[in-house]
């Protein structure tokens, strides 16, 4: 059967770890100093919901996802795509190339670039000083916003591509006749464009959000979750508990929660895609 190699790989290295994840999340497994792990039931989850640091990282993850994925990448991607539909070819290709370049760059390089951009002696403060606006140490005062904007910089290209494809599929006659009927640009956007691309909006929001939920390297490179735990999203919290504090069982319980959220999103996504499989 030609399908065997893929199935074996997926079972061994994906289904296996997920099943193992579901098992150790219910144990007190530690990295060191323990011969064998024992079953502790829901203790890890109870501990998580009572843990102020965990709740903090849930809130930060929500902020990070809302600001960078839903408000940032999604809206900016749609804006870019619709501006590109009207702009001159040269401006369109240069902008497209630069935005895609930010997307293709390795995650850690992007993290490093935006670290210098937001740092105290960095470019952003230079611009603010030029405009006579107060500068500050962004990575210290507003770390979660800095990493959120970094994620917008890095991830917008995907939304831009999805929306460019979606907008190009709208027949010209539809928008033109609306224009002839006297609909202004906002009315056309609200009553015609958005309803016609609503499936792309759904797909894009879903994929963006999932992508953003699991961002690790970008935040790790910029702030390592700090200062303190003020940019510690769930993946960073999970890593910190499992490795810095050696609590594999607890870290895995957090990972399992993240997986469950991802799985729920996946199910919604599958329903959106239903008729296409």
């Amino acid at each position: 059967m030609p399908i065997t190699p893929a199935t074996v790989l997926l079972l061994l290295f994906l289904a296996g770890p997920i099943a193992y994840c579901a098992y150790i999340a219910f144990t007190d497994m530690q990295l060191t100093g323990q011969a064998s792990a024992s079953f502790v039931g829901f203790d890890n989850f109870k501990k998580a919901f009572g843990d102020a640091n965990f709740r903090n990282s849930v809130v930060l993850t929500l902020i990070f996802t809302l600001v960078s994925s839903i408000l940032g990448q999604n809206t900016l991607g749609l804006t870019l795509a619709s501006l590109m539909a009207r702009s001159t070819k040269f401006v369109r290709s240069v902008t497209g190339a630069v935005v895609i370049c930010a997307w293709v760059l390795p995650e850690i390089v992007a993290g490093f670039l935006l670290y210098t951009f937001f740092s105290k002696e960095g470019t952003l403060n230079e611009i603010l000083a030029f405009l006579h606006l107060p500068s500050q140490n962004w990575l210290f005062t507003l770390p979660i916003m800095a990493v959120s904007f970094a994620n917008v910089w890095r991830g917008t290209a995907f939304s831009m591509l999805v929306y460019s494809a979606a907008l190009s599929e709208i027949p010209k006659e539809v928008t033109e006749s609306a224009e002839v009927d006297g609909a202004g640009s906002w009315q056309r956007l609200w009553h015609i464009t958005l309803p016609m691309i609503r499936r792309s909006i759904g797909t894009n929001l879903m994929l963006n959000t999932l992508q953003t939920l699991s961002v690790f390297g970008l935040i790790w490179a910029m702030t390592r979750g700090g200062p303190g735990n003020r940019s510690q999203t769930l993946p960073i919290f999970m890593y910190d508990q499992a490795f810095n504090k050696s609590l594999i069982g607890y870290g895995t319980a957090v990972a399992l929660l993240l997986l469950v959220v991802g799985a729920l999103f996946s199910v919604v996504y599958l329903r959106l895609m239903r008729e296409e499989v």
């Binding site: 030609p2 193992y20 009207r86 702009s87 210098t116 006297g182 993946p235 999103f265 599958l270 895609m273």
Partner: protein, 302 residues
């Protein structure tokens, strides 16, 4: 924007109003021009924000005295590049990345092509649930699996091995690769392999001699895209590899600016450029062939 003030009576937009082509000589042309100018201006502003960090990278890499601000170099130098072009800093990590991602990509595309074939060609009972499972797993946050993968790899002695890491990298990319591959394969008409069937070709020959060559650009896209994703992946090798000599560039660059007290920005920028160049070139290669990333965006959409 300018169009809003010009929009006539709002009731026209509310219902299916009769068409009233308004003839206003000259105004149509100038309106499109104005719209184009506004769009260009908007794009240029966004472009400015996107380009600054990239400009910094280029300037700092050739600056004799780079700082964290974006500024034209005070003096041009190639020193930053020559300093990082050593076995320890650049060549070994890049070679490791190559081995790791090259072998993982090979595994991914082979397994994906084999799996996509029956999924695309036969309406077997398992096809639909299999595809749904694949689509489901493309959405799972792989980051969340890393801690249990680490624990599992310790138990089966795969931790800190190149082959173990590339197996996992290959698998993490596999669901999306199968999905993409199947979509491209659907575009090759079955009639073409039927000719091969009648000539007595096996399914494997039909796949390798007829289908894969015919879906050439699609196969290239899956390969290059998988490679780019793995090349940039930081978390997987960061977790699964320990020995410094085995680290790929994505992790070695991190130790570079993580541990040095004062960061050598110029050298780091130079290394970042060297490390990023292969994937940028590969992306240009596939996007040229497919008219921008639009096909990829379309494939993701379904």
């Amino acid at each position: 924007m300018a169009a809003i003030s010009e929009a006539p009576a709002p009731e026209a937009a509310a219902g299916p109003a009769p068409r009233r082509p308004r003839v206003r000589p000259g105004s149509k042309l100038s309106r499109t021009t104005r719209q184009r100018l506004a769009a260009d201006l908007g794009l240029l502003v966004i472009l400015g924000a996107f380009v600054l960090p990239l400009l910094w990278l280029i300037f700092a890499s050739v600056d004799t005295d780079p700082s964290m601000k974006v500024a034209p170099p005070s003096g041009l130098t190639a020193d930053n590049f020559s300093k990082v072009l050593t076995d320890e800093i650049t060549f070994t990590p890049m070679l490791n990345s190559m081995l790791l991602c090259g072998s993982a990509t090979l595994m991914t595309v082979t397994a994906a092509a084999l799996a996509a074939y029956p999924l695309s060609r036969y309406k077997a009972r398992f096809s639909r649930p299999y595809l749904l499972t694949i689509l489901f797993s493309t959405c799972l946050p792989i980051t969340a699996v890393m801690v249990p993968v680490y624990a599992l790899f310790v138990q089966v002695n795969l931790i800190d091995t190149m082959h173990g890491t590339s197996f996992f990298l290959a698998t993490s990319q596999l669901p999306f690769a199968i999905w993409l591959m199947k979509n491209f394969m659907d575009g090759v008409p079955v009639a073409l392999e039927e000719a091969a069937w009648t000539d007595g070709a096996s399914w494997f020959q039909a796949l390798t001699k007829v289908i894969l060559p015919l879906m050439g650009p699609g196969f290239a896209v899956v390969t290059v895209y998988s490679f780019i994703q793995m090349w940039g992946n930081f978390f997987v090798p960061f977790m699964l590899l320990i020995t410094p000599e085995q680290l790929p560039a994505s992790v070695s660059i991190f130790t570079f600016f993580g541990n040095l007290g004062s960061i050598a920005f110029g050298e780091l920028a130079a290394f970042s450029i060297l490390y990023s160049t292969p994937v940028l070139l590969l992306y240009i290669l596939i996007s040229k062939r497919l008219g921008g990333g639009f096909t990829l965006g379309g494939a993701v959409k379904g």
